[in-house]
């Protein structure tokens, strides 16, 4: 490997290509580079968070189904920062509110329990998938932004042909190489973003399905309790 910084146009040096470019192309490249950094930051953060959340949810649900006393379990576990815990907590709170008065409307209570736990699931999924829209945006827009930089750079190359009155490839080639580098960075940012978006959407869907299963199970438990009370 050559330890010297390559600044000639013949090598594929990103810094040389960046420094030789027009300011429009430069700003496009800088924006796309930031987008790429942001994409990878989301990928790294989100994958860890998703894996941790799913593992803890599985453990929480196992503990819940093993627990004998729901009130005691709620007292011990409801403060945890976990989607399952918050859905569980929402169900328990709605149950307490509905059964606080003397007369209980069983149908209305079941409906309210289902609604409140569904709302809690939806809120958790919204919070979890907060960053995914950024990945989707970068994945769909970055190629076009890069293409814009390329088109601008090629236009500039053609005007330089006209001003130099020389159509040899040595005049045109550096400008076109710089311009194409903008598209390259756009694809460099977009491809991981699209892959990560699809993968994380699948992961979030699985989390949502798991939460809904847990909420339904908890709802059936409470509903049975409601019937057994009278």
């Amino acid at each position: 490997m050559n330890p010297v910084l390559n600044m000639d146009a013949a090598t594929l040096s990103p810094i040389a290509l960046f420094l030789q470019a027009d300011w429009v192309v430069k700003s496009v490249m800088a924006g796309l580079l930031l987008a790429s950094i942001w994409t990878w930051a989301i990928i790294i953060a989100f994958s860890g968070r998703l894996r941790r959340t799913r593992a803890e949810m599985g453990r929480f649900e196992r503990d819940f189904w093993k627990a004998e006393d729901i009130d005691a379990f709620h007292k011990a576990e409801s403060n945890r920062d976990l989607p399952s815990a918050r859905v569980f907590s929402a169900g328990v709170q709605e149950w307490r509110r509905s059964t606080a008065s003397g007369t209980v409307d069983k149908g209305g209570t079941r409906e309210r329990l289902a609604t409140s736990m569904g709302a809690a699931v939806a809120l958790e999924i919204d919070k979890l998938s907060d960053r995914l829209n950024i990945l989707a945006t970068i994945g769909s827009v970055a190629p076009f932004v890069g293409l814009f930089g390329t088109v601008w750079g090629i236009m500039r190359s053609f005007t330089s042909i006209a001003s130099a009155q020389n159509s040899s490839l040595a005049v045109v080639a550096p400008g076109i190489a710089e311009a194409l580098f903008a598209t390259a960075i756009g694809l460099f940012a977009a491809i991981p973003a699209v892959i990560a978006y699809n993968r994380f959407s699948h992961g979030v869907n699985k989390v949502e399905a798991g939460l809904n299963r847990f909420a339904d199970g908890f709802h059936t438990t409470l509903s049975r309790q409601l019937d057994a009370a009278r």
Partner: protein, 328 residues
């Protein structure tokens, strides 16, 4: 933004920095391409050749008059006779040379017509003993007169004279064999074969001519070709911008006349003075090609770098005609 995201941003920034540093430091750069070992050859594309020729700076001075040496280098002159003194001992061989000269005289073939058989036979016989030793001088000489005398008594007198002439010859040959032979020393070639008068007409005085360059102030073939290709090279950008009007138009060659100022600008509009390569297919484009040729030369008109000394000489580039065709 939570702590995990900050950490992730840090990791992403570091990863991008490392990746772009590696790319910039030539991680992906291909190794230096091998330079072709073929030495570059300078090529000048010449469009025309001129009809006249100039010589490259003729010199008026003649070459020095030194005659060429022929033959092997000579040894020192004085020892030559002393060295060749022993050589004549085997050199009785040259001696027979004079002897046959004498022998044909006594034995003319037409003469022994009455008795042809005996006459030729005895003469070869005495001849072999003669060259061999110098001691048998008398023996070969005697039979020679005896046989002709017997065979042709009428002609004995001339035969005797012949033998008498032969005897001194043999004696002189014997004398030569013992001492230095003048013929042997004179035979060796030396010096040149030029005649003694080969210096006639040459003098060692310097030539009165002072000419150093070509006497003709005239643009020659190579200069014309160089100027023509220099002009075509300079108008090439304008030529490349011209649009080919139709198929076959690039075969039309336009002879175009340029009148130029000394600074390379056009003194007048270029004139088309002729065409070649016009055929049925492209003759309708002739006018268009003329316009394109004129536009080419006016578009790139200040011509640079033409040699100033060839501006106003005969056939110089103040009024220059060259042939142009559309690229392609």
């Amino acid at each position: 933004m939570e702590r995990g995201e900050k950490l992730a941003i840090g990791i992403a920034v570091a990863g991008h920095a490392v990746l772009f540093a590696l790319l910039s430091l030539g991680f992906l750069a291909s190794p230096e391409p091998l330079k072709p070992s073929v030495p570059p050859v300078e090529v000048s594309l010449v469009e025309d050749i001129a009809l006249e020729q100039t010589s490259p700076a003729p010199t008026a001075e003649a070459a020095p008059s030194i005659a060429p040496e022929q033959g092997p280098p000579e040894d020192a002159a004085p020892p030559a006779p002393a060295e060749y003194a022993p050589a004549p001992e085997p050199a009785p061989a040259p001696v027979p040379a004079p002897a046959p000269k004498v022998a044909p005289a006594p034995a003319p073939q037409p003469r022994p017509k009455p008795a042809p058989a005996p006459v030729p036979v005895p003469k070869p016989k005495p001849a072999p003993p003669r060259p061999t030793p110098a001691a048998e001088k008398a023996a070969p000489a005697k039979p020679a007169p005896a046989k002709p005398a017997a065979a042709t008594p009428a002609k004995a007198a001339p035969a005797k004279t012949a033998t008498a002439a032969a005897k001194p010859a043999a004696k002189s040959a014997a004398a030569k064999g013992s001492g230095a032979s003048p013929t042997a020393t004179a035979a060796r070639p030396r010096g040149s074969r030029l005649g003694d008068d080969f210096l006639k007409g040459l003098s060692d005085r310097p030539s009165p001519s002072k000419a150093e360059a070509a006497p003709a102030a005239k643009m020659g073939a190579q200069a014309a070709a160089n100027i023509g290709s220099a002009i075509l090279r300079q108008v090439q950008p304008c030529a490349n911008r011209q649009v080919n009007p139709g198929p076959g138009a690039e075969r039309i060659r336009v002879a175009i006349n340029l009148r130029l100022n000394r600074d390379g600008t056009l003194a007048g509009k270029p004139r088309v003075v002729g065409h070649t390569g016009v055929d049925d297919e492209n003759q309708r484009y002739v006018d268009r090609v003329d316009d394109l040729a004129i536009a080419t030369f006016t578009g790139c008109s200040p011509l640079r770098g033409l040699p100033d000394e060839l501006y106003d000489v005969q056939n110089g580039w103040s009024n220059f005609t060259l042939r142009y065709k559309l690229p392609g």
